[in-house]
């Protein structure tokens, strides 16, 4: 039966993700990591992994647990694994970062914490992947959007496995690799597969489906969407080849990285054309905050993807490359995630609270749960920080970058408060809120606990009554 329910732990994933983002931004404000430290120094690795795993991956995971079942019209497979996966990912990330801190000489702990953390992360991502793949493959034929997610999950697997291998090298236990030198040459490909494959490609695929729904736009034809997947797949396959090249005693250089980026930029071009068409063809003329706040994210993606290959080929140095990667990670992926979080949290909260009551009287609209224009101002602050951050990174102005991160930090904190207010139905008049004990909980949706009011169910439980 085509049916989807609310994902119980998605809100917990989002809360953990936002907490890790705040932590990363606070560290950046404190001057830890690039540009004060080198790009591959432990301090920067802490920051990068807090953002990539803690913030972006957990938010993506929470969103996928909610929307993959909706998009394939099937219930989530093995939903009980969602919470253990979250714990494993969070523990794994903390262990990994503790290992990096040891590597940096800040604390005195065993370096083996790094591979241990990597194993936890691997387990957490495996559980997540297992749930999502089982759900996606429960319908045949496998839809085009599902292929985006499956390809992205394959990239996640390679990213997590290569990260685990790197962590054994950094902890001094690389004997198993023999003479093969994976580091530092493998790092860019690990990052490309993680940011471009797992986070980027899935953001591409899911946004096609969600934007059609959010803006009431016509579904783009498959013949236009398919090239995006094919070309991205080609770029990611090149990145994979670059990662494993040392096993064939081949050292891919900057040109290989630039080639991957050029192919991904071509995919991005096709994708950008489709997204622009979706915005233009929308039947819902007034854009909601999630779609408005996504526009700067797409601009950031365009700039980042267009300039990054050139910056690498021209050996522009660490500053410009860091600035462009920052623009893609914070501007595009981060901005898009924050923007859609507002929509997802308000939609889920509305559904949880009002779906059972519909028909009994007037219900607020989903948009009524969001405080406007306040929410919009936090986005302005956040994107202002991203713009300033990219500019200051490009010229390696460390103090300016810390100031930029203050703006991002305030923006994030403001949006976090807004999301909590949405869960608490703060924008809804007291009279229209359900009684306190029926209001949504902050971190878990209660939809699955709700007992069905079904005559059959009652007589089923008490057959002799």
């Amino acid at each position: 039966m085509p049916m989807a329910s609310l994902s119980r732990w998605t809100m917990s994933y989002f809360a953990a993700a936002l907490a890790f983002l705040l932590a990363a931004e606070a560290l950046a404000v404190a001057g830890i990591g690039y540009p004060a430290a080198g790009l591959s120094e432990p301090a920067t690795l802490i920051l990068v992994h807090l953002v990539a795993i803690g913030w972006l991956s957990l938010a993506m995971a929470g969103a996928l647990l909610q929307f993959v079942p909706v998009l394939v019209s099937r219930p989530l497979a093995f939903p009980k694994l969602a919470l253990p996966a979250l714990f494993m990912l969070a523990i794994g990330l903390v262990l990994l970062c503790t290992g990096f801190a040891t590597l940096a000489g800040w604390i005195d702990a065993p370096l083996d914490l790094m591979p241990l953390g990597a194993v936890f992360l691997l387990c957490g991502f495996s559980l997540l992947g297992f749930m999502l793949v089982a759900t996606l493959l429960s319908t045949r034929p496998v839809a085009l959007f599902a292929r985006f997610v499956l390809t992205g999950l394959a990239c996640l697997a390679i990213t997590a496995l290569s990260g685990t291998a790197f962590s054994t090298i950094l902890s001094g236990r690389s004997g198993w690799l023999g003479p093969v030198a994976l580091l530092p040459g493998g790092l860019p490909f690990h990052a490309l597969l993680g940011l471009g494959g797992w986070l980027g490609l899935i953001a591409f695929g899911v946004s096609y489906r969600l934007f059609v729904m959010f803006m009431i736009a016509p579904e783009p034809p498959a013949r236009r969407v398919r090239p995006v997947l094919l070309v991205s797949g080609l770029g990611l396959a090149l990145a994979f080849a670059g990662l494993v090249a040392p096993f064939a005693s081949f050292e891919p250089g900057a040109r290989w990285i630039a080639a991957v980026l050029v192919v991904l930029a071509a995919a991005g071009l096709f994708y950008g054309r489709d997204i622009l068409a979706l915005y233009r063809a929308r039947r819902r003329k007034a854009l909601e905050i999630n779609m408005l706040a996504s526009i700067p994210a797409f601009i950031a993606l365009g700039f980042g993807l267009a300039l990054l290959p050139a910056a690498i080929l021209a050996h522009a140095g660490d500053g410009p490359v860091a600035a462009l990667v920052f623009l893609i990670a914070f501007g595009w992926l981060g901005g898009l995630t924050l923007a859609q979080l507002v929509k997802i949290v308000s939609f889920v909260t509305w559904l949880e609270t009002y779906a059972p009551r519909l028909g009994r009287g007037p219900a607020p609209r989903v948009g009524d749960l969001v405080a406007m224009p306040r929410t919009g101002r936090w986005f302005l602050l956040s994107y202002g920080g991203v713009l300033l951050g990219a500019a200051t990174l490009a010229i390696e102005a460390a103090a300016g970058f810390r100031l930029a991160m203050v703006l991002c930090l305030i923006g994030t904190a403001g949006l976090m408060v807004e999301l909590v207010q949405i869960r608490r139905l703060s924008e809804i008049k007291a009279a229209d809120r359900p009684p306190a004990h029926e209001r949504p909980q902050l971190l878990a949706t209660r939809a699955e606990e709700r007992r069905p009011v079904h005559v059959e169910a009652r007589s089923l439980a008490h057959p002799r009554a």
């Binding site: 039966m1 085509p2 049916m3 989807a4 329910s5 079942p69 909706v70 019209s73 099937r74 219930p75 497979a77 429960s138 045949r140 729904m213 959010f214 803006m215 009431i216 579904e219 039947r283 819902r284 939609f347 509305w350 559904l351 009002y354 779906a355 059972p356 009551r357 519909l358 028909g359 009994r360 219900a363 609209r365 989903v366 359900p434 029926e438 699955e448 007992r451 069905p452 009011v453 079904h454 005559v455 059959e456 169910a457 009652r458 007589s459 089923l460 439980a461 057959p463």
Partner: protein
Amino acid sequence: MSKPEASLIRELDVRPLLRAGEEPFQAIMDAVGALAPGQSLRLIAPFRPVPLFSVMANRGFSASDRALDGGDWEVLFSPVAGMQTEAGLATGSSPSALSWGDPIEELDLVDLEPPEPMVRILEALEDLKPGDVLFALLSREPVFLFPELAKRQHEWAGNFDASGAAYRLLVRHGGGRAHG
């Protein structure tokens, strides 16, 4: 219909749930929801779940049951072959839809963004009487509506039109109401 192969059967044992004092209905409906087209459900219960037979028949499943040792029962719910595909209805549709009367209300909800179509349909149903049929045209499969319809005991049948651009939904009022 030929006997289903083992891989085409999903098994659900509700005895532990009932022992724990929980309602098994949602678990059963979730299991039914997770069935692949053509897949059967083998249900094991500590009694013969007669009320479930009509619920499942409405969803296009036939039941064959046998007593197990110790007073337990095993029921095999098998999809009635061809019933839904012949009528071109989506899985989960009530096969009895073919004999429902004409809709007394029609809603065009194609241009509404989710969850507005769900709001309109549930509001409209609230004003109808048991047995009344409502027709709605939507731009997508209303996946969040179906569980809500089931909880209110309404039956539904739906499918996409030939172009795949519009989803046609029939709902027959089953007597339930908003329950929040």
